[in-house]
């Protein structure tokens, strides 16, 4: 029993009492405190396997059961770590920040309520992208999802963590319309028009009356979201676009400065993502097929891989959605703009309703194959990502790339980078693929990550989302007026959750009771 991870203030006897209390309200079939259970709820992509271990998990399947769990957690001062499906691999997956927390596994809550006229849906936390896709297929509904590269996870979890997809509805968090939330004291609240009992407009108007709270429950630990409204894109009449490859690293500047204005002008309404050669290659092949040399890959190997698979140093896909006549006119604008900056290749694509559909992220089709990249180094693979938000400016993007690429070479890591467009920003995702069976490699990951955080901080660039290990570090970089935002977050936290039971440490927000755990 000595190696059971326990939360602060607990011994084995007290945790056993709490377990029995959970069993009394949920039944034993929804309470998981065996050693194997603890293992299955650990972070599969952990850089440090010794931290973030939960003591167990509970899996309520109704709002009433969630409230009953919250009541017990308050009685025992027992930290809960809510997960939707726990598939945000690279950010912590199912594991909590604070060791000894109980995972609140909501993957069994899978209700879907679809408004076929308006194209809105209410999902519970356990509804995955494949589940919602399946519902749409089974009911032959003319709507598309906006799916992330790993679509194994929860629709709600993705939106609440500000994950993205690749259609015009790709910034999923912007398409949230109304939440139902169990607060840390067990109260149940609905946001937006949901605050008006029986309003038929809960999924129609996101703001309601008075302050809007939806984003308060995004990347936070202020409540347990049990229902989420989401707008879906009506199936377009036409989809057109092009896949464009560029030959040289320095082409990044022209790409950003050409695509950026088209995005801001909304000629492009989806969010393109410029990715380097390894983003493609790591899915196709493994490093061992090309070299056994340690250190970052040299240009000779990179050139050979690119040549074999006909890929540019950078690639980007641009897509137009909507009426065919409009798309045809916009396509000419895109084509001219791309040709002006001399790409290596342009591959056009076109589809109209009634033709066979391409099953890809561009049509909101769920997918998991991009995760094959974790096999790049062989062994038990994993990855984490360092993803600062940077200005939508070609010169600054190129500088950021050069700075980061130099660091990858210095630390002997193969560079997988991308620059994903928002409407006014770029998210620079730098993936670190690793092999957990290579101890020398694993030793480098943490100091390398911290170096990148420091480099970015000097430029004023902060991360949009991060792994459990770095939530305190990243929160610390948001440092205006002596971390005034974190102080505000923690005042709200203590007001809503005086016992500090809900996800302590999430996004660097600690309740007063557990403030001593910060940075540990």
């Amino acid at each position: 029993m000595a190696d059971i991870p326990l939360p602060p203030g607990f011994d084995a006897q007290k945790i056993a009492q709490a377990q029995r209390a959970f069993e009394s309200v949920l039944g034993a079939s929804k309470v998981f405190f065996d050693e194997l259970d603890r293992d299955t709820y650990k972070d599969k992509f952990a850089v440090n396997d010794a931290v973030h271990h939960p003591v167990g998990a509970v899996a309520p399947t109704s709002v009433e059961e969630v409230q009953a769990v919250v009541k017990i957690a308050n009685q025992y001062l027992l930290p809960l770590w809510p997960i939707s499906r726990g598939k945000n691999l690279g950010y912590g997956g199912t594991a909590p920040v604070l060791a000894g927390s109980v995972v609140l596994d909501l993957s069994g809550m899978k209700k879907i309520e679809f408004d076929e006229q308006m194209g809105t849906v209410i999902v519970e936390p356990g509804v995955g992208f494949y589940d919602l896709y399946d519902y749409i297929q089974a009911n032959k509904l003319p709507f598309w999802l906006s799916t992330p590269g790993n679509s194994w996870g929860s629709v709600m979890g993705n939106a609440l963590d500000r994950g993205v997809g690749y259609t015009p509805y790709g910034e999923n968090t912007k398409n949230i319309c109304g939440l139902e939330v169990v607060l840390p004291d067990g109260d149940l609240v609905r946001t937006g028009m949901g605050a008006f009992a029986n309003a038929p407009t809960w999924q129609a108007y996101p703001f309601g009356f008075g302050p809007g709270w939806d984003q308060m429950f995004v990347q936070s630990n202020f409540g347990i979201v049990t229902k989420m409204g989401l707008w879906l894109m009506p199936e377009p009449e036409s989809l057109m676009g092009m896949d464009v490859e560029f030959d040289k690293p320095e082409d990044l500047k022209a790409m950003v400065d050409t695509i950026g204005p088209l995005r801001r002008e909304r000629v492009l309404t989806q969010s393109p993502s410029i990715g380097n050669w390894l983003r493609a290659a790591a899915v196709l092949t493994t490093r061992g097929e090309w070299t056994d040399k340690p250190g970052a890959l040299g240009d000779d190997v990179i050139d050979a891989i690119r040549k074999k698979f006909h890929i540019g140093w950078w690639g980007v896909s641009l897509r137009l959605y909507g009426r065919e006549e409009v798309n045809k006119a916009a396509y000419k604008v895109l084509e001219r703009a791309m040709n002006d900056i001399k790409p290596m290749s342009i591959k056009p694509t076109t589809w109209v309703k009634g033709q066979p559909l391409e099953y890809s992220g561009w049509t909101g089709t769920p997918m998991t194959f991009p995760m094959q990249n974790v096999n790049w180094y062989g062994g038990r693979g994993g990855h984490i990502g360092f993803s600062p938000v940077i200005p939508q400016d070609g010169t600054k993007a190129l500088e950021q790339f050069r700075r980061t690429y130099a660091r990858y070479k210095e630390w002997g890591v193969d560079y997988q980078g991308s620059f994903a467009f928002g409407e006014r920003h770029l998210t620079n995702v730098n993936a670190m693929i690793f092999n957990k069976d290579d101890p020398e490699m694993m030793k480098k990951v943490d100091p390398f990550f911290r170096t990148l955080v420091k480099d970015a901080e000097k430029q004023g660039y902060g991360e949009y989302r991060t792994h459990l290990d770095y939530m305190d570090l990243v929160a610390q970089t948001y440092n205006f007026n002596n971390n005034a935002l974190r102080r505000l977050n923690e005042r709200v936290k203590d007001a809503l959750d005086p016992n500090g039971i809900l996800a302590p440490g999430k996004s660097g927000i600690w309740p007063k009771r557990l403030a001593g755990e910060r940075g540990r």
Partner: protein, 133 residues
């Protein structure tokens, strides 16, 4: 079969250079790679029941025709689709799911119960299945 699957993965991955996935051109005049298969879900086989239905719901996202699991198994086996294998035992399925295997993460009981996992394991062990992919 192995060559076909590897080709599919390669074509998908090339377009994944731009993230978002297999953006295979469909234009008649451009030629290009063949269209990718539709994801395998319960709606693909509405009459499925028991272990088969659970397999579609819980496993097919990775072990369907263009899933991560299929792509990685294809690197070391000629029969990467689990439903097509004749050498799977129930114990192996349960062990792989609960402990994780290779790059497959462990699956907790909150997501797939012991009873559900046994149904899936028994279904796969009764293979190969002549099911459409």
């Amino acid at each position: 079969m192995r060559k076909i699957l590897i080709l599919s993965a390669a074509l998908l991955a090339l377009s994944a250079c731009s993230k978002g996935g297999g953006d295979a051109p469909q234009g008649e005049s451009q030629g290009g790679p063949p269209p990718m298969p539709k994801p395998l879900t319960v709606a693909s086989r509405p009459n499925a029941t028991g272990g088969e239905k659970l397999y579609l719901e819980k496993c097919a996202m990775c072990h369907g025709p263009n899933g991560m699991g299929t792509g990685l198994i294809a690197r070391r086996s000629d029969v990467p689709l689990l439903e097509k294998r004749d050498d799977i035992t129930p114990d192996f399925v349960i062990q792989a799911a609960r402990m994780g295997i290779g790059n497959m993460p462990a699956i907790p009981r909150g997501e797939v119960s012991d009873a559900q996992l046994k149904e899936i394991a028994d279904y796969l062990a009764a293979g190969p299945h002549e099911t459409p992919q």
